[in-house]
Assembly symmetry: none
């Protein structure tokens, strides 16, 4: 059910952070420090998407990109230096599906990975819960065919909850997925959940359920 993501990143700290953020968003993740066993990984792990650093020991990101394109249908998100405009062009022209410049916020990378997977049809782009429709690609939320105005943060929060629909997600998970934070500030999440509720639960129906001591779930009324 959940998509598989292969992360190739030689900076261990970054690779680990990326991996755990993706895992917390529900993906199955493998992390490699270089592209040596890429062919094997493509065959065995069969990733739906590869997060690929440009600067790598041995074969660099662009060479690996070609390998992936030749022997797999996996999507590719490249990590490049923020200012490296040439890198960016080269990556896109080489066929990467998206790229993210370093330094980046974890939430941004996760969002782009999700977006590419959706585009590739690996993940549904719109999620329906009750009479609420969340279209992550279009960034539009509708309730009973009427559009709902959400702020950027509220939208990211709701899109995340929608992607995890039916699962209980902790405030910690939400913080890393939506904000990219590591420090624990439950109230920040509470405030925004409260705001989202005010907007999407107009008729006394409950969509975002609180599970005390665990977190929140997005689910239609039972």
């Amino acid at each position: 059910m959940s998509a598989r993501v292969l992360v190739i990143e030689d900076a261990e700290a970054i690779g680990a952070a990326v991996s755990s953020a993706l895992r917390e968003s529900g993906y199955e993740v493998q992390h490699r420090l270089d592209g040596r066993q890429l062919e094997t990984d493509l065959g065995r792990f069969r990733p739906d998407l590869v997060v690929l650093d440009v600067m790598l020991p041995g074969r660099d990101g662009f060479q690996l990109l070609e390998v992936i394109r030749r022997s797999s249908g996996a999507g590719v998100v490249m990590l490049t230096a923020r200012d490296g405009v040439p890198d960016r062009l080269r990556g896109l022209s080489g066929g990467a599906d998206d790229y993210v410049g370093k330094p980046f916020v974890l939430a941004e990378l996760v969002a782009r990975v999700s977006a590419v997977l959706r585009r590739l049809g690996r993940t549904p782009s719109t999620v329906q819960v009750g009479d609420l429709v969340v279209d992550a690609d279009a960034g539009v939320v509708m309730r009973a065919d009427r559009p709902i105005e959400l702020t950027a943060t509220e939208l990211r929060l709701l899109v995340y909850l929608a992607a995890q629909r039916g699962r209980v997600v902790s405030k910690t998970q939400i913080l890393t997925a939506v904000w990219g934070y590591e420090d624990y500030d439950p109230n920040l999440v509470e405030v925004h959940v409260s705001a989202v509720r005010r907007k999407i639960e107009e008729h006394g129906t409950r969509l975002v359920h609180t599970v005390r001591g665990l977190g929140y779930v997005l689910r239609a009324e039972e």
Copy 2:
């Protein structure tokens, strides 16, 4: 069927406590005081997961972590000093799947070990008993396709019983696994078992069976 866990911890008392807690949760456990024969253990015992102390005589946890990563697909949960933020980063960056800060509650460690094993696909994340489905990862319990609202404690209790399905577990085992307690308070367990029953056994069916003098079993009607 049951997963194998290797515990490397030089403090004997802690190692023993961890080992027996894991055994009570149904894992096959080996305990070593240092990492000298790690390579042999990886080959012979073939653990699915290694619980690894950071501070060890001889090679320390991070060195052992590398060995494990190179020559095994085992998951790794590291034990670090609670405040050791540097440790934490280093552990994750080295590729540990999770870490637990000392001092820790046994229940927490057991929960994290289970979570990592699930993520690695070594343990099914959902257990079905009769028409009851317990999804530990999603934190969701369904009966006949309808979600059941459980509190955090009730869920932990039921997840534990589900993991031990078909096996009689004593109140002492439940206390250590779910609460991390050492002192014996049978009534505490009884109260929560009672609450879980009220919620999951709506039609007079019995799922959590009492075995007088021994404990409880989760099992479909006999």
